[in-house]
Symmetry: D2
Subunit: 356 residues, 4 copies
């Protein structure tokens, strides 16, 4: 068993880690921390966790500490900046880290500082940190001490567009219209996440620019480069929307076919095949040939992707669904940990979404 | 008082007409029809309507007939094709008609037949039928006998994009990513509208092409032409999505600024002003300078539009919200009737959305 | 026109007053107040209200003041204790007041102080304040300067049980299992009303005792007394539950038939008739003979009541539905104001619920 | 591995069995049937199940048959009457059966026929069938060939009231006000489960009598008898309500304390202790000392029970929450199968609810 800490366990990602790690055969939670609720037990904060006592290895009476005990592995669920500081300390004591914040996702410090509006707390670590998308970087993740798990919108959009950029079938001009359930906004109270406001409502947000955009761009540029056709930039519009549901992301991506693909008269069927071939063998990415539903992924680590062509305009449309708290956050973090530790990526993550 | 018939009253648009006409000072419902439930009373089908008895002019014990009685005005809530047949008969007896179906929205019979897959039942009427968007055609509606009220997605998207096409600030290359509440699918039972399937779920639909697309294209082309810069075509992608809420449409529209607008360095503020000036004096279209919420329009005839520029890409993004059953259907139909009868367009339609 | 103030307009009841008064032909909002947001305009706080500008008499650019201007009438939307203090000042300057707080609902100061845990700020007013249920006290309301509009749970439960207590058909032993939409908790942010917590969840609350209980008991005792059979007390259990919807209350009430009713072999049909006779002529109370739906009342001032007998146990079961923000709060407050001013009670309140 | 059949796999209970059995280490699904969709594969009916292929033992391309193959175990998900016929055939070929229908829950044929309005298809099996509540009958279930898994409302209410009846602390006069998510109504399409009708709505149903009532009464009488104080009957009112959420049941149970409990001045704390002692060691029943939330159980086999006293009336109130599809149906069925096969009851069922 690998001893494991959850840093900032009182967040939604912390709670979801407890749920998923309760099913994991090799990761044992031995330390949990939070700043404001230190001294409380898990069950004080989340009464429902007493259900874990009888049938899992999680101890719901575990006391929440201010600082983590020494463990082999840690999941960091802190906001950006605070996360980087915790990561530095954890690495110093030899703990492997999966960081769920944005602090180590962007390779370019200048881009980070432009979007996050503060000096990066640990730029020296950016070189060794690996972007935690196993579908792209599993070899590098396997040897890493620090993995930066991508954001929920980013994961969903990047998986949707990777094959298109890797195989050079689209022009570098993309719109990602993303729709997310409200748990993505976290456990902090705001008027926009107040039930009476958010229920029966839909609205765009972060219209001036959302922080997941540079992650998406970085990874699509990398996919093109690794596919042998480097691009200088991508004209990327990313706009998220809030949907009255708890979990789930649907990214609808629009791009124009590259001339090469048009010349070859790429069909929708051939497109699905290209995607299937790209993701062959992936345990969690499923290319489908019908419109996907966010609910298919509810509570699971799966991603469903439907690429198609809009015959009238020659546009590529790719629809991609995940659970924002699982493949978009915690499930992917565990997948990364599995990969770092040399285990099958699906260890403790198998199973279908909760339907209906 | 103008005697009024509701054809196919047992639909959701029929029910919503009863609710709104109960507040109307000049339109009196004197005839209601439906095919399958003829012989029943309104209150047999909709028990909640007994609330109308004491305080409104609607009689909830009115018997649903197979055929309409003679009235001055009729709202036709039938599906396409059936609607056209009813419209012909109503016009023959001198009844003014607001048709909520798609039968008379498209001016080009060939386009209609391509999208609706059957021969148009009354092509001779296409010439005189007026597209029922008062914000564009109120002079022609005022003299019309037959007004074709636009679809819910169409209304929301057309209002979002009219100023841009009329004022020639965008290229004819547009994506409309539309999100609708589930009442838009009507009262017919399907697995996709079964609560346990649709709740906590979001999904695209009609990916191969939705019938509101040609309406949108027709009207944007007309706006450009009437604005003095005729276009040959628009490369328009329209993709609707189902959202787990009962009412509301949010259309997010993406377009590229035309070179002229770029040269003038059009700002977001100037854009909002351009839109405000275009819609000056409109009772139901409100240009806002923040992301709109579908709930703002809940139960009302209002449309909220937020046009902005994506500074990084130079794209125009326009977000537009309506209630699909009101401005997207029944409220607009009454607005059209008011206009046909020479009354203020907002007669019986005033008031804010139901919030929270 | 009667000049009208809304005290604490930034609450949900304040917002709903604006929506409903925008439709009212005789009440003109000329003053709005709030403590924390004084200096802002209505549209600063509620952007959707700009829709009121073109078609109603409400001016969305009205500035929110700290203190109300002199008006003929005021609706007080403050929390208890603060409400009483405002009421005193308003009455002193000759303003008629409808108070939506609990401060003047209970006739017995001791009961008030037991449940609200503070000294009553204005006990001298209790004598002249009238409990604002027009269905019971319209004669007294007509002459009153201060009307205390009842709570949402109270209204729904009292209307359900009044005929049974007035006509002496039940024993004084009642359970009210009440279920409410989440807007009843107000606009203040709490974890329990955070969307991700409240959605897809149901839970009881205030299990140790909810403050609407003494209102219900007071009114049922009064109904029995006025019906000619005074009771010393009622063994009343009242338990509210939170339901994942924005609006609506369903009160399910259980009681045992009194021996007299059993002797007469009261049938379910006779029971419905007894209720219909009791509520004959009421514009807003509708006795139905099938299970009611909260949605029937959505956005309207109506109450739907279904009384029936559980044949196997001889229990009376009464199900009652309202919109907690309308008949449960603001609609009823306007109904009271109409009554105070000698107008038809339904003035500005006509119309059906928003369905679907 | 035990070969396992799912009879009527296209129901929601069939789908949920696939999800949960995909996690089970000893039960292998080798046969699936359905009447109307025979010949299709699982993934034809439920596209999301392709996610099971890579990481679980369920084969999503398995063909749905009309008749089951020979297996060691079968879960029967058919409606009543059809279920009994299938059970007879399965038992004849030596298959152990967990029946999720009501056909073998009631010991008294006359009661069954009164409530289900048809002749019982296999009354001879009633003697040997065991009521599938492990918390009560695990010894008998361990040796059984046929286990009748209880209904969702029944399970939730019986678990809430068993300790009270077993320990003789209440009078035989009980009200169960039960609230259920909409998946309990199954996958069949009805207007009442149409999203636009059911969303933002709450309503009672089966007011004239619900079929889960006799199950509850049977088991509470048995608990009293086995506790040493036989009752002749219970005056039981059971009323279910539909709540706009997919999963979850909350049963609020009201009873009057028996004189013996009153004499001993039973406190709320002592009550919680009595319940904790009664359920000591149970893996899935958790006695809590605060109002429970249905969401705590979402997707899990847990039941949360909060017993308390209403000090003002001396009433016992017990609130009980389950997921209607798990502990209320499929999870309990697997728990029964585990028990029949001599395994730990929680095998394949461990883990917390999906929160938020």
């Amino acid at each position: 068993m690998i001893s494991t800490a959850i840093i900032n366990v009182t967040s939604y990602t912390g709670l979801e880690l407890l749920r998923l790690l309760a099913q994991h055969p090799q990761l044992k939670v031995t330390s949990v921390t939070a700043r404001s609720l230190a001294g409380k037990t898990l069950v004080d904060v989340f009464p429902q966790l007493q259900a874990l006592a009888a049938t899992t290895a999680i101890d719901p009476t575990m006391v929440i500490a201010e600082e983590p005990a020494q463990t082999d592995l840690a999941f960091v669920c802190l906001p950006h900046a605070a996360a980087a500081e915790a990561v530095v300390r954890l690495l110093e004591r030899g703990t492997k880290v999966v960081d769920l914040s944005a602090d180590f996702r962007l390779h370019d410090v200048a881009v980070y500082e432009e979007w996050y509006k503060h000096t990066h707390p640990a730029p020296a670590l950016l070189e060794s940190a690996v972007f935690g998308l196993c579908e792209r970087y599993r070899e590098r993740i396997a040897g890493a001490s620090l993995v930066a798990s991508p954001g929920c919108h980013s994961t969903t959009a990047i998986l949707a567009l990777l094959p298109a950029f890797a195989r050079d079938i689209v022009e570098p001009d993309v719109i990602v219209d993303s729709k997310t359930g409200i748990s993505g906004a976290g456990r902090g109270l705001t008027l926009g996440t107040h039930f009476a406001e958010a229920n029966e409502d839909m609205s765009p947000y972060s219209v001036g620019g959302h922080r997941h955009m540079p992650e998406i761009k970085q990874e699509l540029l990398a996919a093109a480069r690794d596919g042998g056709h480097a691009l200088s930039d991508i004209r990327l519009t990313f706009l998220p929307h809030l949907v009255p549901m708890t979990r789930g992301i649907l990214a609808t991506c629009y791009a124009t076919l590259a001339p090469g693909a048009v010349e070859k008269s790429l069909s929708s069927e051939a497109l699905v095949e290209l995607y299937r071939e790209y993701y062959a063998g992936e345990p969690f990415v499923h290319v489908v040939d019908q419109p996907p539903h966010t609910k298919w992924a509810y509570g699971s680590n799966h991603c469903f992707i439907y690429p198609t062509l809009d015959a009238r305009t020659g546009r590529l449309i790719v629809m991609s669904c995940t659970d924002n708290l699982v493949k978009g956050a915690v499930g992917q973090a565990i997948q990364n940990a599995n990969c770092m530790l040399g285990w099958p990526e699906s260890l403790g993550l198998a199973g279908a979404g909760v339907n209906p």
